[in-house]
Amino acid sequence: MAYNILVVDDSAIVRAIIKKTLSLAGVDVGELYQAGNGKEGLAVLDDKWVDLVLADINMPEMTGIEMVEKMSESGLMKTVPVVMISTEGSQTRVEELKAKGVRAYIRKPFTPELVKEVIDKILGDEDD
């Protein structure tokens, strides 16, 4: 089954690396949507069917955490799993994110194997 994935990151090179990583990991991607910050990400979610969101934390205009908070307010966090991909290594911050409903956290730099493992677990759970 192909999944529609939304990648939210202000860095075009990171979005390109994630796209390549998904391909290397063998993730079956239907549509790959891209957004440069949380606000643009919410606009995509408003307009398109998305199975999974991969989002950075630290972005201009609207951070990944603010985007998750808006998704919680609108009920989207219950239907669209969010995985944060960021550079921060604080366990406290990771626990905060999970308390907000974020399904998993991948720390940069990441490997295709790790990305596949996390996505398989989340989307496999969704399919069950």
Binding site: T87, S90, E96, K108, P109
Partner: protein, 157 residues
């Protein structure tokens, strides 16, 4: 810059370069850094704020940033979109900052990072930065680089 901060920054910078862009770095004496009067450089700063605050800085030749971007994406330089050189340095700065904070402050402390900022430097500004006591001279695949960190306040142990 304390010795602990300095050593952690060198280690983390080299690891990040290797993991993201398949490039290899090593510290070098400043007087042995190659000089190129015609070179243009990119200077990236990423700030962090939490129990203490500060900035991580990385400076590399513009042309080499293009090479790093191409390495990271696995494409040729002529296939790259405009802005990828700047973007690759921002990402290296961003990941280096996050990894450095964990290396020196552990996993419990929470820091917020600023969005990385990049600006162009000419040779004169590069020389001034190179000669400052806050910069560390590096060679990355035999290309000159400068890194540094400034911290205000006490970093949690």
């Amino acid at each position: 810059m304390t010795e602990k901060f300095r050593e952690a920054l060198i280690d983390v910078f080299c690891q990040v370069l290797e993991q993201i862009a398949f490039a290899f770095g090593e510290e070098t004496p400043k007087e042995e850094l190659p000089s190129d009067e015609l070179a243009n450089y990119l200077h990236c700063e990423v700030g962090f704020r939490g129990p203490c605050k500060g900035t991580i800085a990385i400076t590399l030749p513009f042309e080499f940033c293009k090479e790093l971007a191409a390495n990271a994406l696995g494409i040729e330089q002529d296939e790259m979109a405009p802005g990828m050189a700047e973007d690759s340095l921002k990402e290296i700065g961003n990941v280096t900052c996050g990894q450095w904070i964990t290396a020196v402050a552990g996993k419990k402390a929470v820091f917020d990072l600023t969005v990385p900022e990049v600006k162009a430097l000419n040779e004169a500004a590069w020389v001034e930065l190179r000669d400052s006591s806050s910069s560390i001279a590096m060679l990355v695949d035999d290309v000159p680089a400068l890194i540094g960190v400034s911290v205000t306040g006490d970093m949690p142990e």
